[in-house]
Symmetry: C2
Subunit: 584 residues, 2 copies
């Protein structure tokens, strides 16, 4: 047996017991006549003691061979420490070592295995197995495990059945790009890896499974933006005989349960906001409502006063940044620079100081009286001491710009508190969005989303106005889940494919199996999928998903640890009937 | 709301309540003045009643439009049935319908949605969403869900962390054939889908995760034998600081827990058998020990008595089939034909009847006295009334043939009882096996398996004799899990790759990341993987895995429901820099 206890386990109650421990050498302090060695495993750190009065010379010498990250097995007696360490659970005791065995030596690690490491991102990824030895990364992975298990328990208790759907499926060019897998047994043909188990979960509803869930890997061959991964994990769910309300209640229940069980946070009923309201109030369909700074529309109040920037704008809209009225000229200039960066794209920033004495002072005093500015203050729900930040221009773009500015201000002001949780539902998404490039409508959610019955009449006349039975769950400014009530009859589904520019053949070829299935008694159904990577990161109070994934890929889709992807043997290519084209 | 209750829920206590139900029409019985409709969902069947005295004419007419598998929503009053049905939980009540809504019509299904269906395999696969509506298939999937969840709970309670490992990894030609995934972002390069997360779970041990598990899809591009799938599911586990004994105890604990929780079966400590013993006693490394018929070796007793078949054989070996002494000549001829089939390949079958009166009568009486036959009886552990079945020939082949015959006899005699469970461990597998075709050794388990320390000296002199720290869990004649203690130092791992015929470059190129990791403080570790599909099928008392998989593929690796794999667009191929070769 390699150990009787773990390194996080021993307490004063164990004093005088003989124990065997195994683990990694974290630190060696050698005072000559005495040595202390910290030995580490997943469960904690235990201090070992050797001293020349009580330990053999041989043992001391052996201990001196130890380097950082050596793997050791020791036996010894638990004794009470003279100088206790209150920072670790085993800090009351140490082990007087009687036997020491080096189980494996270690080269010096390329970065320190400490909570704060000196290793850069690339190096940490290359030696991910060393990075995971660090507490913060390991704890993130254990945290993820806990969230997953809690999700499984909750959904199972609520009647959901975990059904594994296939990974080798059919390529459907709609949506993002598929990863494809050549079939050796069916030469010239390809499987695709699922972007989500969407059609399969719908088929499970047709199959009468009633409530389905799966925690499942999904794949998208997209050009990777920061913090996106080509493979990612979804909590995928579907229910039959439900309306939107049933689904919102079910998954609000799950999320509330997670917040309580995992974070100890009790959350009231989630607010609901229409897509339209979210866009108007926050310029964003995933608003962070941990803080205010709601948009106030100033177009009517500001136009025809001689200020051409406002007069020529489709929309004039602002926020009141709390307690910022005394921002220096330099700070305001920095904000102006921020919104003018190409990534934001505003042409300028108008500001108004709402001073503590009630006076108002703006960068456009030439055009507006203080009384007029008072009306702005009302519209912005401002209080004394606030700083109004106002943008003007094209309606959609200006909203997006102000949303970015709002988030930027919130970050500066420390309003995005990682341990505060403000979930909400955004509902009534548009069914379709117009794509300038292809000159046709795209499904905003996906082609299986059901239009709202009351908007159905607009489908042929004004498709862009049709709202969908689609909803997103938003947490702290991130979309953590989204779903919809699905179409469940062949005619509507077929009409939808027409609208999206599918020919009859394309629709039949790619989704014929689903439309066929709808003819054999499909129940009304709908569902939702959570992005597990993001959900876990946000619950963990962090913004990036990468450290909640054991072996992530970099922004070129490479695993730099194992060096994948890589070239394959010609014999493998031949078996697959494939040639690689010359790459120019 | 589509329903107030499910179709499995209503009892006498609900009488007089107004309820709303939804589901599929299972059956309509129309007596003219009265109609009964069975409506079905995942939870059960409820009987609806309409009669011309109490139901409107309009309602009766609407009900007459219903066909099998129509989806309906009804409201009505729960009433006590006059003729109760004891076979279903809702058999005491029926619903007097007051409202009926057809939620969706259904075409006539291509096969009956009954426990015993008239649909053939191909048709059932093509309309799998209808097949799953049948109780036996749906119950299998729910059973699988229960087993998975129980596994997760048990392993989590025992400190195992569920860590998701990547699906887009690196191709390694050792072992079975990989499915590969061309990378668009890295032209000319490929990912591979994992045959198992083997190297990742070992890296997680190097990373200090201590105990890991995952229920994970794995992929092998093999020519499919019956009851194999190109994608399959493993319960994958790994532990650090363990010896073989720790692993056997841990997973024996899991299996015993599953048998108890899921099947209500208590099983004593699992017997352990060496590979050598299993081969000698059962001719098989996955013996079914629900029954006896152990092999008895008769070579010494039978040679040099003038019977050339025995005299020329490397091995003479038999079993005593219990209670078969009075098999007719015809039955014995059939057994002889059975072993002579090319799939078995024996040249003939010798039999001895051990009659109830204690006399012995054989097909080789010419060469052997009854006293000699008595000695055979002893060797075979036979009792009066048994029939000895004896094969002779090449040692390895004859054992395999007799093993097949033993299983055949057990099946005929009804000894393979689906609800009896006889697990065991087979241990001490050979490390290597000689492959005639390639003229070199192959890893019997995989190249990461650790040799037994006491056999290490044989590695250079007699590699075929080296035993591994490898073990299989066997249940009812099936290998349900297997694993090993791993190599955890670079030198042994490198030596192993040499032995398996890897050049230094190949080893470095394919597994360099693992050997590098071993240099940074790898702990001793080992693990095991269960085949979930098979485990669930056997626990479910069945032999084939296909009906425990929601959407299986056929023997050509095709999903006939969605028609995958299929051709992809030329634009997709171009993006991947691929050409398809002319297929001759």
């Amino acid at each position: 047996m390699y150990r009787t206890h773990t390194n996080g386990e021993l307490r004063l109650t164990h004093v005088n017991q003989t124990v065997t421990l195994s683990g990694w050498v974290q630190k060696v302090r050698d005072k000559g006549f005495m040595m202390w060695i910290d030995v580490r495993d997943r469960y904690g750190i235990t201090q070992l003691l050797l001293d020349e009065n009580r330990s053999s010379k041989e043992l001391m010498e052996k201990a001196r061979q130890l380097g950082r990250e050596f793997v050791v097995q020791i036996t010894g007696t638990v004794i009470e420490r003279e100088a206790k360490n209150k920072n670790i659970p085993t800090g009351d005791i140490e082990i007087l070592v009687t036997e020491l065995k080096i189980l494996n030596a270690a080269l010096t690690p390329p970065f320190t295995i400490e909570d704060e490491t000196d290793g850069g991102d690339e190096l940490r990824m290359q030696y991910r197995y060393l990075d995971i030895r660090r507490n913060p990364v390991r704890e993130n992975l254990i945290f993820r495990h806990k969230v997953s298990l809690e999700v499984r328990k909750y959904l199972s208790e609520h009647g959901f059945i975990d059904v594994e759907t296939p990974y080798l499926i059919k390529s459907t060019p709609e949506g993002a790009r598929d990863f494809v897998v050549p079939s050796r047994m069916n030469p010239g043909q390809f499987y695709a890896l699922p972007q989500s188990p969407q059609t399969f979960k719908q088929l499970l509803m047709v199959a009468g499974m009633d409530k389905y869930y799966q925690i499942v890997k999904c794949f998208r061959d997209e050009d990777l933006r920061a913090d996106r991964q080509p493979e990612f994990t979804q909590i995928d769910c579907e229910m039959a005989f439900v309306r939107q309300e049933d689904i919102l209640n079910t998954f609000e229940g799950l999320t509330r349960h997670l917040l309580k069980e995992i974070k100890g946070v009790e959350v009231a009923q989630f607010p609901r906001m229409t897509y339209e309201e979210a866009m108007k109030t926050y310029g964003n369909d995933k608003p962070d409502i941990r803080f205010g700074m709601k948009f106030g529309e100033l177009t009517d109040l500001t136009q025809n006063k001689g200020f051409s920037v406002f007069d020529n704008a489709e929309l004039v809209v602002g926020i009141a940044a709390p307690g910022c009225s005394e921002y220096t000229r330099k700070q305001i200039d920095e904000l102006t620079e921020f919104v003018k960066r190409p990534q934001v794209g505003a042409s300028g920033l108008i500001y108004v100081r709402y001073n503590m004495d009630g006076t108002l002072k703006s960068s456009v005093d030439k055009f507006f009286t203080e009384d007029q500015l008072k009306l702005w203050a009302e519209k912005l729900g401002a209080e004394k001491g606030d700083l109004f930040l106002i943008l003007a221009g094209n309606e959609a773009k200006t909203r997006t710009q102000l949303s970015i500015l709002r988030m930027h201000m919130a970050t500066s002001l420390g309003l995005r508190k990682p341990n505060e949780f403000a979930p909400l539902w955004v509902v009534d998404f548009p069914l379709l969005e117009w794509d300038e490039e292809s000159g046709r409508y795209h499904a905003m959610h996906h082609p299986f989303t059901s239009p709202k019955p009351e908007d159905l009449h607009l489908l042929s006349t004004d498709p862009g106005k049709v709202r969908a039975n689609a909803y997103d769950m938003v947490l702290n400014g991130n979309e953590i889940g989204g779903g919809s009530i699905r179409i469940h009859d062949k005619e509507t589904q077929s009409q939808m494919f027409d609208l999206l520019g599918f020919t009859k053949e394309e629709a039949q070829n790619q989704f014929g199996f689903l439309m066929n299935a709808f003819q054999f008694g499909a129940p009304p159904h709908g569902g939702l999928a959570f992005g597990l990577d993001r959900l876990v990161a946000i619950l963990g109070g962090q913004e990036t998903i990468r450290d909640f994934i054991a072996f992530p890929k970099n922004n070129s889709g490479r695993d730099v640890m194992i060096d994948a992807p890589s070239a394959i043997d010609t014999s493998q290519l031949n078996e697959l009937f494939l040639d690689i084209k010359p790459i120019s």
